[in-house]
């Protein structure tokens, strides 16, 4: 017991005196969430610049453009009669869309025919397209209701209302009500940071040992536990900060019950920790851990199914993603934090994480046993 605490103390001191581990195990967990939230702080794209090409000199056409311009998402920066000029602005990325009203726009409406508005979008960012398409559709639907009424004169007010809208509909954003980018992405990033920094940090420690001619796979089990305990002591407060304080600080959705979250994070931290303690024995030198682990962050984020829907990930990649605690951790945390899920709702993830924790404990313990066995045999 005493040796366990001695080892733990030793490792803690090592982590706190080493700039590399300090950066990854303290600075990144504390700083990155703030940086990321700052990047996505506006949550949605507002005032996407667009050019209007208005060939229809009519009040109806002007009304359409006025309503589009008045919407929060689109800003008409120029109205012109020349399509070439508009295209030039799109190419120079001064505008991200062209709204084109043809010359016969008003004439067709007057004749009771369908008039067309063409929308050309720059596709370098899907959010521009979304803002432009949704705004134009909304404005057209609103105007359509009114135009419909003018075509059928002689109705009472109530009849008018019913004809313009026989069935009403409402769309409810069940979770992440402002459909924000930060609210959607940050929770996933927070959970991923825990796993990645643990891998990097322990990898650095192990690499340092290797540089000194020590072999982590020849450590005793007690020493491994000491190291694990040190990491846990460090990560309990930082995890609490990342998963509770950060969402609160930046007004992200936060529907988690404290006890559910705490219970769920136990297997996640353990699974990450033992995965890290397994992987570290393969790190040949100090700097290699960065070469090996940094590149996995972006793919793992995609494989978690948070941005690219999990239902559309090919089976092979899905199985691969099950090797990483982050896959289950991200999904579980997002549902607990953003959607207020109970532990029963995230049962699958909870059990999977426990299986991973036990499996990776066995492998971390196993490689050390095997390393010691080889050492004794050769001695």
């Amino acid at each position: 017991m005493k040796t366990l605490f001695n080892y733990c103390q030793y490792e803690l001191r090592r982590i706190l005196h080493d700039e590399g581990t300090l950066i990854f195990m303290l600075l990144v967990p504390l700083g990155y969430p703030i940086l990321y939230t700052f990047i996505y702080t506006d949550e949605v794209v507002r005032q996407v610049p667009a050019v209007a090409v208005n060939l229809s000199d009519s009040s109806m056409g002007r009304e359409f453009l006025r309503q589009v311009d008045a919407s929060p998402d689109v800003d008409i920066i120029l109205e012109t009669g020349s399509m070439d000029e508009a295209k030039k602005m799109l190419r120079a990325q001064e505008a991200y869309g062209i709204i084109y009203l043809p010359g016969d726009f008003n004439k067709r409406l007057q004749r009771g025919e369908q008039a067309h508005v063409s929308l050309f979008c720059d596709m370098s960012g899907l959010l521009y397209y979304k803002a432009l398409a949704v705004t134009c559709t909304d404005v057209s639907l609103k105007m359509n209701g009114n135009i419909r009424l003018q075509m059928m004169p002689g109705l009472t007010v109530r009849q008018e209302e019913v004809t313009s809208l026989p069935v009403k509909y409402e769309s409810i954003a069940a979770f992440n009500p402002q459909t924000g980018f930060a609210s959607f992405l940050i929770p996933a990033v927070l959970v991923l940071i825990i796993q990645q920094t643990l891998l990097l940090g322990t990898g650095l420690l192990a690499g340092t040992d290797r540089d000194r001619g020590l072999f982590p796979y020849r450590e005793s089990t007690v020493r491994m536990w000491g190291k694990g305990l040190a990491c846990l002591l460090l990560y309990l407060p930082t995890s609490a900060y990342m998963l509770i304080v950060v969402p609160h600080l930046f007004h992200l959705p936060q529907l988690a019950h404290a006890s559910t979250l705490a219970l769920f994070m136990v297997p996640y931290l353990l699974a990450c920790l033992f995965l890290a303690l397994t992987m570290e024995v393969f790190i040949p030198n100090r700097e290699a851990s960065m070469l090996v682990f940094v590149c996995t962050s972006v793919p793992l984020l995609f494989l978690s199914g948070i941005s690219w829907p999990g239902s559309d990930i090919p089976m092979g990649w899905k199985l691969f993603s099950y090797l990483y605690p982050s896959t289950f951790g991200i999904n579980g945390f997002v549902r607990i934090n953003t959607m207020g899920a109970s532990l029963a709702d995230v049962q699958t993830e909870f059990i999977a994480l426990w299986i991973q924790a036990i499996t990776y404990y066995t492998t971390a313990w196993g490689v050390r046993k095997y390393g010691n066995y080889l050492l004794h045999r050769s001695a």
Binding site: I23, A115, L119, E287, L291, W308
Partner: protein
Amino acid sequence: MRLIVHTARRECQRMIHDPIYLVCILCPAIACYLLFTSLMSDGLPVKLPAGMVDRDGSSMSRNITRALDAYQYTDIVGHYPTAHKAFETMRQGRIYGFYYLPEGMEADALDGRQPTVSFYLNYAYLIAGSLLYKDMRTMAELTDASVAEAQLSARGTEEWQVKPVLQPIAIDTHPLDNPWLNYSVYLNNTLLPGVLLLTVMLVTVYSIGTEMKYRTAGQWLQQNGGRIIPALAGKLLPQTLLFSLMAMLYVSVLYGYLHFPLNGGLLPMMSASILAVSATQAFGVFLFCLFPWMRMAMSAASLWGVLSFSISGFSFPAMAMNPALQALNHLFPLRHYFLIYAGSALNGAPFSDVLPSFLALTIFLLLPLLFLKRLKRKLLTYVYME
């Protein structure tokens, strides 16, 4: 020149000797090429699981269910008796949204009592939620229109007149150069170079740092008569070559194999990707000079590289970011590469329009020149510290 070739040969031997080089140059990039292109091979996620709460049970509500299920993005995987039950299923992560048809909907609609249908979407999964929204809203519009159509016919409106009356103004959207709204086009054009440039930065710092670490820096410089320029050029060139090959690999995959839009011609993209590789190498050297120790330079390279994915603005647009960040993103080679791609490959802009981004990447190349003296002194005098 002879010196450069000589050093390059030495570097090749180092690369063969230490397998971590080749592994790190080849593996992450190729694995990510495979992962991201196969992950998004559909272009868009299709048939997303959704639920239906049909409280009406009329022929109209059954028609709606059938029609919705046939839509591109929607797959009705379950029927639930109450909204509460559907919510619970959503929380378990099994559906991304559900459609709610109230009791007496059909009767109310035909009698003009304006029933309300609702749809609930889970934007915690933003892409899935947005795509389902598209289908569900179209469905609601059509339901509305089909009832109105019945009412109009009852009033004796001729069939050819119905469409303009229902929808006097129609919007035709033309997503330029990505007409299928292909997510693969939109993400992979920046993700693949992003992963490559991340490894470029790390490997550059690593390869210079290990010269110090294993105390071979003296020999490396001596071989070049103590001149830092041929030493650096000879060392980095073999890596430039390998990384450029990797860059050509993704260029061929994206534009040759997958036929992604390439309106400005192949040449700008090829030169942009090679220039971006060299610019990132230069930036790596710069980081190395900036920090006293190798591991700090490595850490900085890691953090910088990972950050470039977010700050380059290909998923969340730069224009919506804080002005400080919009200024900061000029310091990321990936940002300039992204601008060249969006301008040239996607929008077919002439070379003059993307020239500023090419120039910016060239400025990165000049960055290490400012620090050559410092670098040399550092290589000769500093001892590796953990």
